[in-house]
Symmetry: C2
């Protein structure tokens, strides 16, 4: 019996991977994942066996990884960002169920709240909520309720999956919900292609974010009532009184 290691590889650049994640990818037999994420690591670990699937084939991908581990291989399943936060660790555990085998190890990675925040400045120095705008697995009403609750409690908000080909208007709809509670001047930021080719960071008010052409490579940050800009940077103060 082999072993399955669920590896969060961070935003995409090798240097943003943890030492532990790098070691796992160097020592494994097989690398499994969504083909876009596998392509981010393929060149650095060229001697591995690679197993990939397309988008939205999460359950197939996890079954494939578990099966390869059961065959005796050391399998690394790569997730972009963290392996837990919207990652595959949960589904792997669900599919393995109460069985003790194969052994599963979960190696965390930098989620976009961390890597995108650093790109924009320091927008998450205080309490925040992380909400996905994908309604593929979650009713849109639940997403709306979470957006309203976070805004009403003055939490900063990070939006994952703000748009995709199939749902180009989700960010606009989310902004309209937020604008019921928050002023259009509320400072926001968009991190795109974090640590990949074409990286960009843009700061704008919520009223403009509404019309921003977001795509699946964007992570969106909504500031809290204290968030401000310092130069080009988006910064949420923690509230140190002697600054």
């Amino acid at each position: 019996m082999g072993k399955l290691i669920v590896v969060g590889i961070g935003p995409g650049d090798w240097e943003d991977m943890t030492v532990r994640a790098d070691r796992a990818l160097r020592s494994c037999d097989v690398i499994v994942g969504y083909h876009v994420y596998v392509d981010l690591v393929r060149d650095r670990y060229p001697d591995k066996e690679f197993l990939t699937t397309g988008m939205t084939r999460e359950t197939d991908r996890c079954r494939m990884a578990l099966e390869a581990a059961r065959e005796g291989k050391t399998v690394a399943m790569v997730c972009s960002g963290d392996s837990g936060i919207y990652g595959m660790a949960g589904l792997i555990y669900e599919l393995r169920g109460e069985a003790a085998e194969p052994e599963v190890e979960v190696i965390p990675g930098l989620t976009a709240a961390c890597s995108g925040g650093a790109l924009l400045g320091a927008p998450l120095t205080h309490d925040f909520a992380v909400i996905s705008l994908s309604d593929r697995l979650t009713p849109w009403e639940t997403i709306e309720r979470r957006l309203s609750a976070a805004a009403s409690a003055d939490l900063s908000i990070v939006l994952y999956n703000p748009a995709s080909h199939g749902r180009p208007d989700h960010l606009r709809r989310a902004c309209d919900i937020l604008l019921e509670t928050l002023p259009p001047q509320r400072l926001c930021g968009v991190a795109r292609n974090i640590r990949r080719a074409g990286e960009s960071a843009q700061v704008m008010p919520l009223g403009e974010l509404r019309d921003f052409p977001a795509d699946m490579f964007c992570t969106v940050f909504i500031g809290n009532s204290q968030t401000r800009t310092i130069g080009e940077l988006l910064v949420t103060p923690r509230g140190y009184r002697d600054v």
Copy 2:
């Protein structure tokens, strides 16, 4: 003029640091930080100059780091977890203000939501809120309001700074707020000393969490309505329909 690099070192073990963070600590002249965090890296980078301060001396620490960079040194300021999430990046930007110098680089690190989640299982596979229970810089009423909002919207919740010597009852008070909305059976977990000596993970219902003797080395996870245990693990399903 030198450079200031704000480095998130993750939970504490070198292997959970990113390759980029390791490179920054190897290449710098001076390592600055709260003495407990500096002690986590001192042995691996023994030839550096070290500057430390005690707890709650954040502004002094940041001024010291900026000053050393202005003197021409390459300075790494270490933060446990991420450099942005409740980290020092925001305060560094505030203190530097609109000045272009010294150059500041922020290197993100694994925050406890990622590293503690991996230790407990996969509690953050769906939307969540991160809330600090420290009222040193935030009115307790604001914290209560955020807890209630997150619970009412069925967000999983991660509690940072759940207790300290000066506020031993904050976790109990937070649980009492949550219990106004959530059932006492709601599954929760506590990750303690993540990736350090004495590491532990415990899963328990919210009604028991209320009486848990948390300390400043704990990170607390409160599941959403779908969170369940699989064996010893705390898992929040994402909702894949073909599991």
